[in-house]
């Protein structure tokens, strides 16, 4: 294991984050505040409670998930795509490192960044509503696993993408709709039966449900199922990356 290399990639990626720390943090914080104003204050005043929780508090886990998923994906995809785009990837390809080390470096940095942003969102939301966390350890575990798995997904997208449009495509076309339709801002039990069934096909639904359970002790689906779903998703990403590593797909000529 080339630990120095992992460290170098991680530090380099994190320095990119800290260099633009204000930008990196300000936009998620502002958009979270907007969500609270729109969903919490405007709409929430007409829906007093969801599953025994005030609507404002109810949307906190969904908001954190929404941000963490999009941030982890975009950070990781950009992290590996950018060197390909400007050509500095030659250095990584000619270094005495393997794909596992490259993945740990880039995915690790993206996961830590998004974790950081997720925690910032959580802190921001306490300014608007009372947030209580029923199972803090489970909450951290769900958050970490989500950061990690979506950073893995982003890494795959970054390797696959041949241009900036493709880089934006999957987050825009797949992740955002899945997150919005996965019950970020409502409980799926509020949906008609047919749409409840459809929601069961949405993997993100399981993550949000499990994450919300760690806050309020209630879930749309059993928490064990949520755990299996996120573990399955992480394994799928790992398998894909292993396959990329085996075939040298899209990185080496």
């Amino acid at each position: 294991m080339n630990l120095q290399a992992i460290r170098a990639i991680f530090v380099f990626e994190m320095s990119r984050f800290f260099r633009s720390l204000i930008q990196s943090l300000i936009s998620p914080v502002i958009s979270t505040s907007l969500y609270f104003v729109v969903f919490g204050a405007a709409i929430g005043s007409r829906i007093d409670q969801v599953e025994g929780v005030s609507y404002g508090a109810f949307i906190v886990p969904g908001l954190v998930m929404l941000t963490v998923m999009t941030q982890a994906t975009s950070n990781a995809s950009f992290g590996i795509y950018f060197p390909k785009f400007i050509g500095t990837v030659y250095e990584i390809l000619s270094a005495p490192i393997n794909f596992i080390e490259i993945t740990i470096g880039y995915v690790g940095a993206a996961a830590v960044k998004s974790l950081f942003i997720g925690l910032m969102i959580l802190a921001t939301s306490t300014l608007f509503v009372d947030v209580s966390i029923a199972h803090p350890l489970a909450m951290i575990a769900f958050l970490l696993l989500t950061c990690l798995s979506f950073a893995l997904l982003g890494f795959i997208i970054g390797i696959w993408a041949g241009n900036f449009e493709q880089l934006q495509l999957i987050p825009l076309l797949v992740i955002t709709p899945l997150v919005f339709l996965g019950g970020s801002f409502y409980s799926t039990s509020m949906l008609p039966p047919f749409w409840q069934k459809v929601s069961l096909l949405n993997p993100v639904h399981y993550l949000i449900s499990g994450f919300r359970w760690s806050f309020f002790g209630q879930a749309d689906v059993p928490v064990g199922v949520s755990l299996v779903a996120i573990a399955g998703f992480t394994s799928l990403c790992l398998l894909t990356i292993w396959w990329i590593f085996r075939t040298g797909w899209r990185l080496r000529q």
Partner: protein, 308 residues
């Protein structure tokens, strides 16, 4: 001593189907400077990329320091530093950060003193904290060299290190390369400038269309280049070279109207004066004189044309 880099039967076919290397064999000796000369698209960068692990060979083997470049890639790549042809640098990054990064990904523990020393040697000491986009093109090229040297490699690949670099800086770079050689670093450089190969290389390899045409000691080549031909056109044709001129090993043209004399410009006496004096004694009338030099450039162009 076994060669530090050994390439045998190397073929590279790109995904497009284009065969950029068609069975290259090359042995690079430890401590030498070898120049790869060849026209655009000859396969120089492809060859370097294959050795450094950026391009996957279609077939053939590569060993670096005795380690197979594929099976034993860690040991092989640790020995290599690469300065790419293109200036690939992150514009917003600070110079010293990108150099530190390079050292790290090659598995070396941080050594700030060494990094600052490398930067100073490349006259970048005062630019260590500058951002890459604030540098001139020549400075960026030197940052690439600093990155390649950051992990103390034993073999350095320089892919057209002096393209677009002014004469002054080019000489500075040659100086850097010579110093590296003194420290025992093996250097492989590609170039389009024949004078550059002449100035610093120990050996010269000519490559074209994915094939190595010639690998030769530079001094050997220079000796060939130092040979000059003197053509003497005669006023009247003769049947054979007169006996009295036998010592000059002249060749007579088919029409019997011109004689060719080969001599070495670097010899103490070229023999031209004596030859002309003797010709006069023999009563031969001269119509014209011409001299012709075979330069490295000519050898190079000739070789490349032959295989085109």
């Amino acid at each position: 001593m076994p060669p530090i880099v050994k390439v045998s039967g190397l073929r590279k076919q790109y995904d497009s189907g284009f065969e950029a290397l068609k069975g290259v064999d090359l042995e690079i000796e430890e401590g030498e400077i070898i120049a790869l000369l060849g026209p655009n698209g000859a396969g120089k960068t492809t060859l370097i990329s294959a050795i450094c692990g950026i391009a996957v060979p279609t077939s053939g083997t590569i060993t670096v320091g005795g380690h197979d470049a594929i099976r034993d890639y860690r040991a092989a790549r640790e020995l290599i530093g690469l300065v790419p042809q293109e200036i690939n640098l992150e514009p917003f990054e600070r110079v010293q950060n990108t150099v530190r990064f390079s050292r790290g990904v090659f598995g070396k523990s941080p050594n700030e003193a060494y990094i600052q020393d490398i930067l100073a040697q490349l006259s970048l000491g005062d630019k260590a904290r500058a951002r890459v986009r604030e540098l001139s093109g020549g400075m960026k090229r030197r940052v690439l060299i600093a990155k390649a040297l950051s992990h103390e490699p034993r073999i350095l690949f320089l892919d057209e290190p002096t393209a677009g670099v002014d004469v002054e800086l080019r000489k500075d770079m040659w100086e850097v390369v010579r110093k590296l050689k003194e420290n025992g670093v093996t250097i492989i450089l590609t170039t389009h400038y024949i004078e550059e190969a002449e100035a610093i290389a120990d050996r010269i390899a000519v490559i074209n269309n994915g094939e190595i045409l010639l690998v030769q000691d530079k001094d050997e080549l220079m000796r060939q280049m130092g040979r000059k031909q003197l053509r003497i056109d005669l006023a009247e044709s003769i049947g054979q070279v007169p006996e009295s001129l036998a010592e000059f090993a002249l060749t007579l043209s088919d029409d019997g109207r011109s004689l060719t004399y080969e001599y070495d410009t670097r010899a103490d006496r070229t023999g031209i004066t004596t030859l002309l004096a003797k010709m006069q004694d023999t009563g031969l009338k001269l119509a014209d004189l011409q001299t012709k030099q075979s330069s490295l450039e000519e050898i190079f162009v000739g070789l490349v044309k032959e295989t085109a």
